[in-house]
Each structure stands twice: as C-alpha cells, then as structure tokens.
C-alpha cells in the first residue's frame, strides 16, 4: 500500500466528439488517514490526506476541489467536462504533508 501512494489514473471516453459533455473518472492511491485511528500497538496514526485537487484543461483551470480526510481511502472523483477543444486534461492532487501527485490524459476528437 505505502509504496503506491500518489499513483493516479484518469479515464475519459475512448470516442469523443467535439462539443460533447464527457465524464471524467479519476482515482489516486492515498491512505486518507483521519488522525483519529491508532495502530495495533496503540500509537496514533497522524492525519495524512489529500487536501486539494486542481483540474486543468489546456491552460485553463476548470475545477478545484477542497477535501478533508472525510474522503474515503484511495479517493475517486467523477465529474464532467465540455470537450470543446483538443487539449490535455490534467489533475494535480496535493496532500497535507506536501506530496504532489500529477496525472493527465489527452482529449482528442474522433475523426469520422
């Protein structure tokens, strides 16, 4: 588990037409520890969670999420984007210990 922290995937439809509203699925590996739990030995597990997510489409910031440790382990987030141009869709997840994790995918239109 620990080694995979920050590994992320973004999925968009395989076929995209210009102007279409597409659904973007994403997941990032992260423990999202609340700080309220203890280990088996009784040691407190400090809070460790993704606190912000920034979504950019081309050069434009299209969404920004503020999270707490109330988001479940290995956070998934699904949202839509209006695919009006061919550009890179990128997401950057930042955790409360300064970890920054990035993933991107290309929005490219289907040629008929």
């Amino acid at each position: 588990m620990a080694s995979g922290i920050g590994e992320a995937r973004i999925r968009v439809p395989a076929q995209i037409r210009k102007g279409e509203l597409i659904t973007v699925h994403s997941i990032v590996s992260h423990p999202m520890d609340t700080g309220f739990f203890r280990t088996r030995d009784g040691d407190p597990i400090p809070a460790y969670f993704i606190k912000s997510v920034v979504v950019t489409y081309g050069n434009e910031e299209v969404a920004r999420f503020e999270w707490t440790s109330g988001i479940s382990r290995d956070p998934v987030i699904t949202f839509t984007v209006r695919a009006d141009r061919e550009a890179q869709l990128a997401m950057v997840w930042t955790d409360n210990k300064g970890g920054v994790y990035r993933q991107s995918t290309d929005i490219a239109f289907t040629t008929a």
Partner: protein, 165 residues
C-alpha cells in the same frame, strides 16, 4: 417539491421506514431521533459546527431546497466507504453557472467534508465520490451559483459501522 416515484425516491422512502422501525426503541430513550425536524424529509436543525460552516460560507443568505439531487444509500453498512452522487439541473454557462458544491455531514468530526469549485467549462454538475461517515446523520449538498443563490438537497443516511474512528 413533489417527487416522482423514481427508484431513488422509492429506496429513500423505504429506508426511512426501515430506519423508523429499527429505532423504535431508541426513540423512547433520552435522545429524540427527529429533534427539531419538521417532517421526515427535512434535515434536523444544524448543530453548532454545521451552523458555523453555513454562516462562514453563506452568511445569512437563504438556502432553498431544489435544483440539486444528493443521492446516497439510505443505509450505509460500512461508514468508511459511502458513495455520493451530486447532480443539478442548474445551467453551466458563462452567464450563469454553479461555482461551488459543498458537502456537509452533520455529525462527522469535520462536518464540511468537501467543497468542489467549478467553472462553466465543467458543463454540468454531476459529481461522484466516496466519503466516510461516523454515524447516522443528515447529509447536506449545498450549491452556490455565480449569482449568489443557494440551492440544496438533504438526505439522512443510516450508518452501522463508524468510518471515522
């Protein structure tokens, strides 16, 4: 708002009925389950933490019910992973859009669980994620439009396993 008999509404109603049956003996104890509620579809009166979040984020602007659908299971067996779907029919155009979606879980340690800041490029409000819930409580999805209007939906989720520690 008159709700059509969709699968969601049917499940919600069925679960509220189940919850009422399960808590029949709890209701006779000191803590009334529906304290402050006007009806089974209305959320309870905000507790101190929720009231603070609402005041800080929205001031004294009215929060109306409508234009938002907060879809969650009526019964969450594992509070560590509870699916959430938030959708809205409000426009997402350069002239008028939903600029913020706030998810509030009344009795969680951090009630203001998440905020999703959006732009017209997002095209629609259709957000899916998974959250943790400490115990049975109301959940609030509150949308803020670019014009400053506030729209909400509420749902009560019965939690059997504490997901917050």
């Amino acid at each position: 708002m008159r709700l059509p008999l969709t699968r969601r509404n049917f499940l919600r109603t069925a679960a509220l009925a189940t919850g009422a049956l399960l808590s029949a003996d709890a209701a006779t104890r000191a803590e009334p389950l529906w304290a402050g509620s006007v009806g089974p579809e209305d959320p309870e009166v905000p507790n101190e933490a929720v009231a603070r979040v609402l005041r800080e984020r929205f001031g004294d602007r009215p929060i109306r019910r409508g234009h938002v659908s907060l879809d969650m299971p009526a019964v969450a067996e594992d509070g560590r992973v509870v699916p959430v779907i938030i959708e809205s029919d409000l426009p997402m155009t350069p002239d008028a859009w939903v600029k913020g979606v706030h998810l509030i879980v009344d009795h969680n340690p951090d009630a203001h669980l998440a905020a999703f800041h959006l732009t017209p490029a997002i095209g629609s409000v259709s957000i899916t994620t998974r959250i943790k819930m400490k115990r049975t409580t109301w959940v609030r999805a509150i949308l803020e439009t670019s014009g400053g209007e506030l729209w909400a939906d509420y749902t009560r989720v019965l939690v059997t396993l504490n997901g917050c520690g």
